[in-house]
């Protein structure tokens, strides 16, 4: 039998109807195209102003010297280093959500992973600046890198500060790679619906992505491998940072519990920051359908869990100080609670140990204003934790004759405020140019649910 010619079949085919767009695409891309409200512009203006103020202060510091900070013998690690550790800690939630929860197949992460990854990248970028600000002559920062030089001198790989350089630069690179790989298919979605300059930009950024089976297969495999690589990395980064302290002999720092205790604290503060940004974002852009109470409930459980690990860390430090019978160690911890920095210590304990206990109750875990309040308290508490560790440790070392009292100055506080401004500015700008919720991942769940009659 002769098969029918091609066109005879084509003739029977109807022309395709106008392509229907996906509701998920429309909802999630609308965040980028939402009208710039006065509130948004005001907030963006405030963040830019704080960045400009911080930049001006930094230039002034370069001109005058680090003396404009509150450094006084024996405290030469101050608010800049505290702020550095704080932001690196914040950077942990993104990779935890993206990598570890991916490996555990915790599908609820899909709605929040992109925003958390963005926060990771922005937080690492913020933190990295504070290393440069802390060393004073930022332009000499490259001294820490092993580069060939006329003196034939190499860096000391036995130094925790050198480990830190490798850990932070690796973390920043992997966070950016992870973020970008996740964005490629979403850029393609934006490309197909954008016009003008946006279309050009998304076309370039999507790398011609079409969602072919080969592309998806490579993409899925890449995300899996990156998750496998990033999981030990996220646990190692704050461990390495904790060794900046723990490898020294300063009372209050020289503790083997530092690595797990720092990692738990980082995840604790990172999740708190995720809540701080996602609760207003959800409300303002009407994303209640995508970021649900279930997400908040899970994040709050993480905060409760890691809050207890942190509390255990504090208790363990005090117990070991007492049990060690080492007088400088005991004195250091006694002075933490009742010395000149007692207020910082009690703020830390109240915010990190007591405030999250409200999350034992489900209504608290699903009430946005309570979540926001506790998250803010945790952010405050975790900054003070680093203040307590660094400042009380250094100011009360072995010899009482050289004890000193450090107080941050206006310059340090301006730069600290600028760090929040810088982070928030990047976040505010990113929600207007990037899909801040991973569209393809949300869609994967939605189509799967639809195929199975909403069984999941």
């Amino acid at each position: 039998m002769t098969p029918p010619p091609a066109m005879s079949v084509a003739d029977t085919m109807r022309p395709p109807p106008e392509p229907p767009d996906s509701k998920i695409n429309e909802d999630l891309l609308s965040v980028m195209y939402h009208r710039l409200s006065p509130g948004y512009l005001l907030l963006l203006g405030a963040t830019i102003l704080s960045v400009v103020a911080a930049g001006g202060t930094w230039v002034y510091q370069v001109y005058i010297g680090l003396g404009i900070g509150g450094y006084t013998h024996p405290v030469f690690w101050g608010a800049y280093l505290i702020t550095f550790v704080f932001w690196v800690g914040i950077a942990h939630a993104g990779t935890l959500i993206s990598a570890i929860l991916y490996l555990f197949r915790a599908k609820w992460r899909n709605a929040i992973n992109r925003g958390a990854e963005a926060m990771t990248v922005f937080a690492v970028l913020t933190a990295a600046q504070f290393l440069g600000i802390h060393v004073g002559r930022m332009w000499k920062s490259y001294f820490i890198l092993p580069y060939p030089n006329q003196r034939g001198l190499w860096t000391n790989f036995k130094s925790p500060l050198e480990w830190d350089t490798f850990a932070i630069s690796t973390y920043a690179t992997i966070a950016i790679v992870f973020f970008f790989i996740g964005l490629i298919p979403d850029f393609a979605i934006a490309r197909d619906r954008a016009k003008g300059i946006r279309k050009l930009a998304y076309t370039a950024l999507s790398l011609g992505w079409q969602g072919t089976s080969l592309q998806w297969k490579s993409h899925t495999r890449s995300v899996l491998h990156l998750s496998g690589l990033a999981t030990p990395l996220v646990l190692s980064v704050h461990s390495v940072i904790s060794w900046d302290f723990a490898m020294s002999l300063v009372p209050g720092w020289h503790a083997t519990i530092f690595a797990p205790y720092f990692v738990a604290g980082a995840i604790f503060s990172g999740f708190a920051m995720v809540l701080t940004f996602f609760i207003p974002l959800r409300r303002i852009y009407g994303l209640e359908e995508y970021i649900t109470e279930y997400h908040f409930d899970n994040i709050a459980r993480f905060i409760l869990l890691t809050g207890w690990i942190v509390t255990y860390g504090y208790a363990s430090e005090y117990f070991v100080a007492w049990y060690s019978a080492v007088e400088p160690e005991q004195t250091s911890f006694w002075l933490r609670a009742f010395g000149p920095y007692w207020l910082s210590t009690w703020v830390m304990l109240s915010c990190n140990c007591i405030a999250p206990q409200i999350f034992w109750f489900r209504w608290a875990r699903t009430t946005p204003w309570i979540l926001f309040t506790v998250a803010t308290l945790v952010n405050i508490g975790m900054w003070f934790e680093r203040y307590v560790i660094i400042i009380t440790g250094l100011s009360r070392e072995y010899e009482p004759a050289v004890w000193g009292v450090y107080t941050p100055t206006w310059a340090e506080l301006t730069l600290f405020a600028g760090s929040f401004g810088f982070f928030a500015m990047l976040f505010l700008l990113s929600i207007k140019v990037l899909p801040i919720i991973a569209i393809t991942e949300v869609k994967e769940l939605a189509i799967h649910d639809k195929a199975h009659g909403g069984a999941h």
Partner: protein, 170 residues
Amino acid sequence: MPTIRGIYDFPGPVAEAATKLKNRGFSDLEIYSPCAFPELDSVLDEKPSGVRVWTLIGGLIGVVTGYSVAIWMALDWPIMVGGKPFASIPPYTIIGFELTILFGGIATLLGLLVVGGLPYGKFGEMDKAYSPRFSADEIGLVVSCSERDVAEVDALLRATAAKEVDLVEA
């Protein structure tokens, strides 16, 4: 060569149709989907993705680089500390670990680009069979076949719940 495109709502029927087409000897198939579906992962190519080789090689180069750079530099600029060896493996494990992750991660990105064929074409220039519908909710199964097979492919796509079938290229 005629190119026929079937449009589906769910991945299951696409996998079924693609498997049937493969079994009938059609090899020029392509699937476009709005997101990753496990059902479609191995339909067209059962072999594991080549990205894994990239990650492995990147990681291995990283670990060797990390240790060797630290050891060589310690020997090239020897610092005598209490009669201990110049090169000390435990702290260098951190450098080795970090570079394993760094090189492995960058190699994974390169692997995605090379194995996944990205950047595809001249960036904005899409396949003729591609449609923005595939970055919405729908899945496309595209088959290139000889003219005599068009009717058979058309019937098979419709029989596997394709909601539309059209001829992209005659």
